[in-house]
Structures are given as C-alpha cells and as structure tokens.
C-alpha cells in the first residue's frame, strides 16, 4: 500500500501523519489523533455529523475529504473550539434548551451555529439554513434553533448595553 506523509495543523497544533491515499480526514482524526468530535453518520456528506472547519474553505464534511490532499491545511474540529467564548455560550444555550439529546450530531451542529453566529446579520432563517447541513433525528432541530436564537438575543442585548 502506497502511503503519503502529510503535515497539517489541527486545532492549532502541527501534526505529521502517514496515510494511505484513500484515508478520509474523518478516519485520520479519529484513529490517529484521538479526536472523536467528528463522527460518521452517512458517508456522503449529507448528515453533517463529521463536519470540521478548514481554513480558507469553511465547514466541510470530513467523510468526503482525502487526508492526502490536506498537506499544509489548517483544520479546526469541535474540540478546537470548546473553550471559545461564543462556543461556550452556544453550549450553555444547548444545555438550557435540551438541544442535544443523544448528542451524536451535536458537535457538527455547534460548529455550523458557531460559524453562522460569527457572521452578521443573522436571523432565524439564516440559522435554519445553516442547519440544513445537519440531520438531527432526535430533536427535529427545534431546540437547536431556540438555543441559537437565545445566544443571538443575548449578544444583541450585550451590544445594546455597551452602546
């Protein structure tokens, strides 16, 4: 089996891995880097459970990405954002609203919401559009939308307070 040496930054740390050409980033993260936040759900990029963020590209399904093509790339997984203030706000809102039931799809959804709430302007429709990337079989997305809107309102409230 022909293997390739690939260097990539994952959550800000430089990693070098040796991978066969057909290895998906999802498997590299899970089997070589002990990062389990990205999860297999469908293998065709539709369910969003494996989403990671690639610098310069945006959110991508890691189940459809060959690691060998990522030499020099910078990847951020859910784990890389766990201490980010906006992510903490989102997590709090998720807990308050019960937006994570089985939790399997949650890291992917939180990455999408984190991405969309970092932009401006945001409304409920934009939030829902971003959730189209994710299948959540437990909640029907109701609680995740509520949670995202809650964070948005808190942000807006803080803005007003500062102004």
């Amino acid at each position: 089996m022909h293997t390739h040496r690939v260097q990539l930054a994952v959550n800000g740390k430089l990693k070098t891995v040796t991978v066969p050409a057909d290895e998906r980033l999802l498997d590299t993260l899970r089997t070589k880097m002990d990062l389990y936040g990205a999860r297999y759900g469908c293998g065709t990029g539709h369910c969003g459970a494996c989403v990671v963020s690639q610098e310069g590209v945006g959110l991508v399904p890691s189940c459809l990405m060959l690691t060998v093509r990522l030499d020099g790339a910078a990847i951020t997984t859910y784990e890389g954002l766990e201490t980010d203030p906006l992510m903490r706000d989102l997590q709090d809102a998720f807990v308050e609203e019960g937006a994570a039931q089985c939790g399997y799809c949650t890291p992917g959804i939180l990455l999408s919401l984190h991405h969309v709430l970092s932009q401006d302007p945001v409304d409920e429709n934009v939030v829902r559009e971003s959730l189209v990337s994710h299948l959540c079989r437990c909640t029907g997305h109701y609680a995740s939308v509520r949670a995202a809107m809650k964070v948005l309102q808190r942000k807006a409230g803080m803005k007003v307070a500062v102004d």
Partner: protein, 724 residues
C-alpha cells in the same frame, strides 16, 4: 434542574461504540453480502479467501451453531419466531451475510470481499419451510356481542417502510477475556436481552457473556435489535482476537430494520351518532424474518381501539413474510400504522355524517376508568385509563389551532389522537441498585440505557427526590450486565415508568437506612447537616467505617402490573399547493398528557422529536424496495427526509395530571407523539382541498393524483380556462 448529564451530551470524548472501535486495535469484521434472494449461496473459492493475506476467518452458514434465534430484543420467550441463525443457509434479504469475515485491516477486508465468488441457487416457494403460505400469524379476535354485519368497505390505508435514520450506526466490539468470557461493547437499548440472545446464538450460558452498553447515538427501536453483536461475538470466539464492526449507512438501509409496512382496513357500525362496533383488519409485512411482527401488529389495535367506547370490537389480522429488508421495532411500535387507519376513518365517518370530526370523537371518547385492554375480555379491567379528560385536551388544542376560524384558500385543519403504554403491560422488569459510596456519592446502577431521551436525568431526579439529596450527589451507572441491575431495557417507553419505579423503591430503602444510621450513631456531628445534624458524607463514612459497619444499599425491583397510557392530541394546519399537490405544514398543535412531566424540557424535546419523525413518516420518508428485494434508497442522497427548513412551528400543550402509579406521577413520554401526525395531516389535507390520501407517505404526487381524479384540480380548471 441539574445539567451535568446534558453537558455530557455535548462532549466530544470517546463514549459511543464507534469511538471505542476506533481507539481499540483489533480485527475488522465484514459481511459478504447476498446479491440474490431468496437463494442458497455457495462461496466457490472459500479456501482461496481464507488464504488471503490479513484474513483471519471466513465463516459460512455450515460452520455456525445450528440454534435459531430472533434478533428482536424482547423478554424471553420472545413473541417473535426463532427463524434465523447467525448465518442462514438460505439468504432472504439483499445484503444478508453469505459469510462473515475477520480481517486485519479494512483493505484486507475489501480485497477479500472483491475476490469472493458466490454462486446462488435461486429458490421458489415459501421463504421459510415452516410457513408454506408465508403467513407467520393469523388471528380473529371479536369481543362483545355482534350487532350484525358491518356494512361498507370502510377505510383502507397502506403504510410504508420507514428507516430509523438514527445517526450513529450499529457498532459492536467483542473480545474474549482471560478465563474465556466474552465481552461485548455495543450500542444497544437492551443490554440484558443482547446478553441472552447472543448466549443463545452461540450456545453458551448467559453468565459467560458481559455486555457493556456504550452511549447510544440514537436508537428509536433500531438498537432494540441484536444485529451485529452475534456476528462479532462469533468471530471473536473463532479468532480469539478483538473483533469490531460498524455498519455503513448503506448497510443500515440494507441490514438494519424498518418500520413495518402494512395494509389496514377500518369499518364501523353506527346507531345514529352512537358507535356500535369497530372492525380493524391488518395485513402486516414483517420482511423475510419475523422479529416483532405479531406484537407490532397487535399494537396497531391496542393503541387505537380503546380510545372509542364501543360494545363490540373486531380485530382480524395476519403477519406475512416477504422479501425486502427486515422490519423491526420502531418508535410508536404499531401506533403510527394503527392511528393512520383509525383516525382517518373517524374523519371520513364524521364527514359522511356531516359532523365536526372533533365533536364526533368527543361523543365516543374513553373516560377515566375505562379499560385499556379492550381485546382481552377476561382481564380488561386490569389496566384502566387514568389521566386528564381527553375531551378537555382536545378542546385546548382546537382552541390553540383556531379550529372554528374560517380557513384560507387551500388551507385546512386536521385532528388525530394517539396513545401509548408506559412499558409493555405485564411484561416489564427492572432492578435498580442504589449504593452510598464512602465519599457520600450515591451510585445508581441500572440496566436501562440513555439514548438521548434523558434517562440519566430522570433517574437522577427520581432518586434525588426520594432520598432528599441534591441531584449533584448522584451518579448514574447504566448498561453493564456485570453490575447486576437486570433490566428489560429501554424500549416501549418504559424507562421513566418502570426503571424509574425501581429507582424510587431503591432510593426509599436508602433513605430509611440513612435514617436508621442516624438513629444508632453514638456521636454527634458539629456540621449541622440535613440528616439529624449529619452530612451525607459523614453518614457515608460512618456506614463503612463507623462502629456498626452498615453499608447503605438499596435494591429496587419493579415488575409493574400497570402501564398507564399517555395520550397525544394533534391538530395539523396545512396548506396545499393545488398546482402540484405539495403539502406545507404550517403549524402543529400537540396536546400531550404524560402524567406529571418530571423534566419539562426533556419532555418537550421528546414531543418535538417524535413529531418530527411523524412528519417525515407522513410526508416523504420511505424505504423503496424493488420487486426483487433490492433497497433503492441506500443513502441519504436518495432517502427523502425533512430538513430544518421544513420543520413547521409547533405548539406543545403539556398537562400536569400526576398518575397514581408512576414515579413522581409520571407516565411515559417518548413515543406517544409520533402516531397522530400522519392522520392529522391527511385529515387536514381533506379539509383543505377535499381529497383523501390513504397511502403513506403523502407525497405531492399522491395529492395531485387524487386532485386530478376528483376533477377538483385548480390546475386543471385553469388549463381549461386557458384553452377557452
């Protein structure tokens, strides 16, 4: 409410079976899948495959134990036929194992699968020799005095196969531990049933197996099935190595389970506006193996007929084997199929009588104290309905949905009801162990599983309430069969009611023991704790190291006779695009009686999730199968499901009427709200455009076809106008 458990559900730590698989070195198991059914397959180059590099085992039907079993995770002796072996000599569904393979790596496995040559000897005739006409079960139950024949064809509906679409695929890992016991890590709703069923399949004592249930990334019934576990167990035993397996999404569609498809017919006999008799007839397709077939079929009646007071009930049915994927347990368990038939029928009858569908229902509704087991005349008073008056719940929903307001163009409202049990009536058992650790933590050991429905949180609340301590001081230890907390498992909406009752009993014992301990302790505490001056930590220490050395151990057992029925009332508000038949659900109003909602946020989540699954079932989800038995919808590209953009606004009205039998007054909440969605939408479509689709899912095409047939199609009228 404590949030520790919900915080855990956001965690990226390794906790699912797939995580354990990815972090543990071991052999990779794979399935050599059948491509022609029904047939007797023969691997012609078996020895070559076994000699391939990296191949540790290739097992075919002739080399597996002969014992037959069912994959249905039900209590012994299962009401499902023992109609399969680990590998069957006859393959009956596409993708069924012709052989099981253990390989060093995925590549070795793929090479082996590519090299395999399989010859098939096609079979005619029945799928199972024991069922010459492919009919697995047939019954005719008529209760009450006949008032004469029930005239008319009644209402005929057909319902489709639905995929669970739980996001985490089936995944298991097996190893032989020193001493020869088999350890299975698996994502399951039923650890103890897995232990027993794998023991039967492998012909070994249950004690020789330990099942460790991991966190479950979505179940909905799919993981009440014991699919992958016997395969990895067999291969682990043969190779002596760690063997692991995770299904792909494609395999989930092929090798997983579906909701049972069926044809149902309902007819009724009326004396004016009084119901004299109801007849339900079901023809249920269970796939080529019979797991859950009969019990799901019976639940189509048990979750619908008791709603309506009636002197005579007739329930006829059959369960048939057929090619296609295997059917199994799925959230709602017969309820969605039954409700589609019965609730559509009530709407049709009301329209025929010129009555308001709500008013007609209210005239016949089940009342407090009415029997729930209406098809069992001997024991029909064993379980009776207790709860919020259903007519009140209906009225609240009608008001919230503005039932009496004029409808917009092509808009309509539809009503449907559903009920559920709280655990399988008279067939539940749960043991819960509550032990005070030496540091003051209470450990609650259970064989139930948290699959996202919030079992941990609910058990924690129940124990905290019963003992009188903070939920913070409680740790839930679920799903390990070596920890001796036998439980039938997490299905049939049982965990809160059954396991919760056991937890409550265990916690009550713990509380008594703690009080006893306070009474006999010789020294006085200065800490002014809540326990007669002591803190829980002091009592914990004293229980192990005090003069009496009396550990605090509660063991609660629940084997309830009761299984109270939660009720859901649903009003759907739809708009129909009359050009193409596309249905847009504008709003759902759900009134739900779950007794006392212990954790309102979790209950809300259960209702919303159930409604979302019901919406998919109603509008678009279907596992399509070709005549030869090929699954045509093998990926999320092809299997139609609803996205976040299509979820309508939902109003949930939760009542709070404590049930006398439930722990803290709770009834079950997980499944009840799936069933009413499809009939409520069908009824709303009739209200909107005057056509009735009796065939799920209600795709735009079907609505359009009906509209075209009824000559009411706006598009047709327009076309004629244009031609004029």
């Amino acid at each position: 409410m404590e949030r520790v458990e919900r915080r855990w559900s956001l965690s990226a730590q390794a906790r699912y079976a797939v995580d354990w698989i990815d972090r543990t070195p071991g052999l990779v198991a794979g399935v050599l899948e059948a491509h022609r059914v029904p047939a007797v397959p023969h691997v012609t180059n078996l020895e070559e495959l076994r000699g391939l590099p990296g191949i540790h085992a290739v097992v075919t039907a002739t080399e597996v134990p002969a014992t037959r079993f069912t994959t249905a995770g039900q209590p012994h002796k299962e009401p499902s036929p023992y109609d399969m072996a680990i590998i069957n000599r006859v393959v009956r569904y596409m993708g069924e194992p012709v052989a099981l393979i253990a390989a060093q790596t995925q590549d070795d496995l793929r090479r082996c699968l590519d090299r395999a040559i399989v010859e098939y000897h096609g079979l005619d005739g029945p799928l199972h020799a024991s069922c010459p006409d492919n009919v697995l079960a047939r019954w005719s139950t008529h209760i009450g005095e006949s008032m004469g024949p029930i005239a008319g064809d009644g209402t005929m509906v057909t319902v489709q196969r639905q995929s669970h679409l739980q996001l985490e695929p089936h995944a298991s890992m097996a190893m032989i531990e020193p001493g020869g016991r088999l350890v299975l890590w698996t994502t399951t709703q039923v650890p103890y049933h897995v232990r027993r069923i794998v023991a039967r399949a492998l012909e070994c004592p249950a004690s020789q197996i330990r099942v460790v249930a991991t966190d479950v990334g979505g179940g909905f019934g799919s993981k009440q099935e014991v699919i992958v576990e016997p395969w990895v167990a067999l291969l682990a035993r043969l190779t002596g190595r760690v063997v692991k397996m995770q299904l792909s999404r494609r395999q989930e569609f092929l090798l997983g389970r579906t909701r049972h498809s069926a044809t149902l017919r309902v007819a009724s006999l009326w004396n004016g506006q009084n119901l004299s008799a109801m007849h339900l007839e079901v023809d249920v397709i269970t796939g080529p193996y019979g797991g859950h077939g009969s019990s799901v079929a019976h639940n189509m009646a048990l979750k619908t007929l008791p709603f309506y007071r009636c002197p005579r009930y007739e329930f006829d049915g059959q369960v048939r084997y057929a090619v296609g994927p295997v059917a199994g347990a799925f959230r709602g368990y017969g309820g969605p199929q039954g409700a589609m038939a019965v609730e559509t029928h009530w709407d049709e009858v009301a329209r025929r009588m010129g009555m308001d569908p709500a008013a007609l229902r209210i005239g016949s509704l089940m009342q407090e104290g009415d029997p729930l087991d209406v098809l069992d005349p001997i024991n029909d008073r064993r379980r009776v309905f207790r709860g919020d008056p259903i007519q009140d719940l209906i009225q609240k929903c009608l008001d919230a949905a503005e039932w009496s307001a004029p409808r917009g163009l092509n808009e309509g409202l539809g009503l449907a009801l559903s009920m559920q049990a709280s655990g399988v009536p008279q067939a539940e058992l749960a043991m819960v162990r509550v032990v005070l650790q030496e540091d003051g933590m209470l450990w609650v050991t259970t064989g139930a599983v948290d699959m996202g429905q919030g079992a941990r949180e609910v058990l924690r609340s129940i124990v905290a309430d019963a003992v009188g301590i903070s939920p913070r001081g409680i740790r839930i230890v679920p799903g390990d069969t070596d920890l001796e907390a036998f439980d039938y498992g997490t299905y049939a909406s049982s965990t809160t009611f059954v396991t919760g009752s056991a937890a409550q009993k265990a916690a009550q014992q713990v509380k008594r023991q703690l009080q006893d301990l306070v009474d006999i302790l010789p020294w006085r505490s200065k800490s002014q704790g809540p326990w007669g001056g002591y803190t829980i930590e002091e009592l914990a220490e004293a229980s192990f190291y005090g003069p009496h050395r009396r550990p605090v151990v509660g063991l609660g057992v629940a084997a309830p006779e009761q299984s109270p029925a939660p009720v859901a009332v649903l009003v759907a508000h739809v708009h129909v695009d009359s050009d193409i038949g596309q249905v847009t659900v504008q709003r759902l109003v759900a009134g739900v009686d779950v007794g006392h909602p212990i954790n309102p946020i979790a209950v809300q989540g259960q209702i919303e999730g159930a409604l979302a699954q019901g919406l998919g079932y109603a509008l678009c989800e279907e596992v399509h199968v070709s005549d030869e038995g090929h699954v045509l919808t093998q990926s999320l590209r092809d299997y139609a499901y609803l996205s976040a953009m299509e979820m309508p606004p939902i109003t949930v009205i939760l009542t709070d009427t404590p049930d006398p039998d439930g722990p803290m007054g709770a009834k079950s909440a997980g499944e009840v709200a799936v069933a009413p969605v499809a009939p409520a939408i069908a009824n709303a479509i009739y209200d909107a455009v005057g056509v009735r689709v009796r065939d799920l899912p209600i795709t735009a095409q079907k609505v359009w076809q009906q509209m075209a047939q009824s000559q009411k199609s706006w598009a047709t009228c327009e076309l004629i106008k244009q031609q004029d």
